[in-house]
Symmetry: C2
Subunit: 101 residues, 2 copies
DNA sequence: AAACTTAATCAATCTATATTGATATTATAG
DNA sequence: CTATAATATCAATATAGATTGATTAAGTTT
């Protein structure tokens, strides 16, 4: 008999989970999430912490934002990013269901 | 001030976490883990559940096994795989620390 | 031993995505 | 208005890893 996770209903959730996983499975993106845990930070702080080129960090930020894991506000020249705790928790909980924690 | 996650001590753990994430961020591999949640299964069952070619499944199984997430025993022609719950829990818990759940 | 079954391996290709370099955009300061 | 700073975008390249096809290996059956 076909296991539940191979049925249509689960398929969709598994896809969602793996999308999330792909996004956070990049070392620098996972670090960004950690960096943003405390206060919001501007891009120039982030790339200096990570020791990465600015445009690369912008790219990773865009990916994270595309998944609504972070959000941004512009203040003068700087753009500040902050963690969307809610989204993060939602996806982490979904994941943990699959990992049966 | 440099955030903790960008310091040497955390670096290593973040790397570990992302290695784990990369492995389970593949849809079929995540499914395999779910399939193996109940009983152990032989390869031919797994690839039929997943509707994937046999050699591709063998490849994914090898990746999972390489990370000690599953283990195998041979019985006649068949090879049975089972979940290593312990490893899975260990890595999931490490991950959850980063995600602060 | 020959034929068959199950699974693993290997090389080749395809695909996704990280990275880089150059440039554009937006805002501020002089 | 010009110069500078911070960030985003875009095209090109590099790289990792999934997928495929063919073959091999190991065990079973007749």
């Amino acid at each position: 008999m076909k296991p539940n996770c191979c049925k249509n209903k689960s398929e969709k959730k598994i896809k969602q989970a793996t999308e999330f996983l792909k996004i956070i499975s990049e070392e620098n993106r996972l670090k960004i999430l950690c960096i943003l845990r405390g206060d919001e930070k501007c891009v120039c702080e982030i790339w200096q912490f990570l020791n990465l080129p600015q445009n690369l960090v912008s790219h990773h930020l865009k990916v994270l934002k595309g998944f609504d894991l972070i959000s941004s506000k512009k203040e003068g020249l700087k753009v500040f990013y902050k963690l969307n705790q809610k989204t993060l928790v939602k996806h982490t909980e979904l994941l943990n269901k699959f990992l049966k924690i």
